[in-house]
């Protein structure tokens, strides 16, 4: 992370701030075990990527005061993200995340559904607390609109993701639309929320939204790369995890279209959800790389990140260092190893 010094400085500062806010203002309630389940994954770790975007955007456009007003919004996005993780883990039947058993593995499916539901409500509660932090009513309402719109999109994206699992072939554009909805929309919302804490101009808020949208899609494409080629000791995920789950990522879709003969047959087995031997997954990973899928995906992610940076460059910042943090974050999202 040495190339991302400002990003790391901000991330670490914001992590402390957001954790303090979430743990003192929202993580305590009755019954205790429900709140423990609701904050289990949040406390297990995570990059706090979304709060980082909320707070840096607020600071970039409105300095320290806007940053302060944005804190409950940053917390809201992180809690909302966590709600989607809890429910996604149930739907995907995943056992581990962030190095710990998933919520439903510890508390059972029913209680985990409920813990996710509570998080959802607490995300709104967090947003509403921005009143105490000096955010004007009109802006709070705008924030509620942004969070609501994003959450609808996240549900839609998850539904498409589940549908794609059952389909033999998926169009690239449909795939990109799906990851925009499932992952990009909440990152887009994060940047918008930060902007809302600082400014009123809808066009400026939209611009930041586009920055977040590009970063979000790029982030997810990099995630797909790491899902096949990532180092398990860094990602915390099993080796070849996306292949083993037959995830129709951009890489697999591209590779299947560009492979032939025996190569295509092996990829077809994965697409058809057949269980393969461990070394066959390694072979499949090699095949995918040979088709140029890795380069294709990475260069698409890079282009999106560049677009995001171009948007930033066009915007006048109150705080240049925060702008630099967001520039680094766009780069980080496509270079990260975890």
């Amino acid at each position: 992370m040495s190339a991302f010094t400002i990003l790391e400085e901000y991330r670490s500062k914001y992590e402390s701030l957001v954790n303090w806010f979430m743990y003192s203002e929202l993580a305590v309630g009755a019954p205790e075990d429900l709140y423990r389940a609701a904050f289990h994954l949040i406390k297990a770790g995570g990059k706090r990527f979304r709060p980082m975007i909320v707070l840096s955007t607020a600071r970039m456009l409105g300095g320290e005061q806007a940053e302060t007003r944005a804190l409950p919004l940053a917390s809201a996005v992180e809690i909302l993200h966590n709600f989607t993780l809890i429910h996604d883990d149930i739907m995907d039947n995943d056992d581990f995340r962030r190095g710990v058993p998933t919520t439903h593995k510890i508390w059972g499916v029913s209680f985990a559904i409920l813990a996710g539901d509570l998080d959802y409500a607490l995300a709104y509660k967090s947003l509403l607390m921005s009143k105490k932090y000096g955010l004007q009513q009109e802006r709070i309402l705008r924030a509620v609109e942004i969070l609501t719109e994003a959450t609808i999109k996240v549900s839609q994206g998850q539904a498409y993701d589940m549908r794609f699992e059952k389909e033999q072939s998926v169009d690239y554009n449909d795939y990109l639309e799906m990851i925009y909805l499932k992952t990009g929309a909440l990152i887009e919302a994060s940047a918008k929320l930060g902007a809302v804490a600082a400014v009123d101009e809808p066009s400026l808020i939209e611009k930041l939204g586009n920055y977040g949208k590009f970063v979000g899609i790029a982030f997810q494409i990099r995630d797909d790369i790491l899902g096949i080629y990532g180092d398990p000791s860094k990602t915390g995920k099993p080796v070849y995890s996306d292949l083993k789950r037959s995830k129709k990522t951009l890489l697999l879709l591209y590779a299947y279209q560009h492979a032939d003969g025996r190569d295509k047959e092996i990829l077809e087995k994965i697409l058809n959800r057949q269980r393969l031997g461990e070394e066959e997954y390694g072979e499949a990973a090699d095949i995918i790389k040979r088709t140029g899928a890795y380069e294709y995906a990475q260069s698409l992610a890079n282009k999106l990140a560049e677009n995001a940076v171009r948007i930033l460059n066009d915007i006048t910042a109150v705080d240049e260092k925060a702008k630099e943090a967001l520039r680094e974050l766009a780069e980080f999202s496509v270079k990260r190893e975890k």
Copy 2:
């Protein structure tokens, strides 16, 4: 229902209004099957009890204009209620509701979780649409606060309900607190939301909230009575359904405390989640009645409904007929057969 003529007139009018709003403004989206799942139970029926409270309260305090402004709030509460039903049915592993298979029985658990999540987001979207219906920003924000607070309580109540299932004995007060959280809080919120569409005075909004709270708890106690003694052809639930599910209702708790000898043993079997023969459930229902549990529960419900009516009587209404509808509704909630 002949004793509730105004109530039925209003209910029927509001049902059409709220259905029109929900189906035209919120029930359409992509992917289509997700939206179909999200509105499956709503379209299957339901009393529209909560929208009825929202709209009657608004009309009582602010006349026709407030009623119009309250429509998106009424829709929000109904959709939120439906979200809790979808998730509750998964948690309780229920196969039927409103005469149709539950959402997860048709679409599977994963998709049903997601459909519930979408409903949750759409409830907020519905609230926010009140802007188009002329509700002032400050009041919309107050509505968001009310809905959020209620949703947190509903999650808490469901958690207590699940915990009580595992406990041998449950204190009456704990039980009443649980049904307040699980059922009463959203009905309380319904009355508050209606009030918010009409007036600004916090104390008046609180008073209506208390009306809703009393009605909500009374409604649930009557539900517990119907869960044992209800006519399956009216309630749509299997005969002795709450006994078969070993639900620790107020009636069972009271009866267990007041029974002895063989009677107590039979009730103990139910509390211990043992499966009984069909005629033993009938016997248990008789035992419970013999202890006076039915009268105890019904008279508590009646008292709560009377309290609710007393609160109404103290409030000056703009529309007396709407007030009468709410009076009838309080009575209906403890006399209903379904």
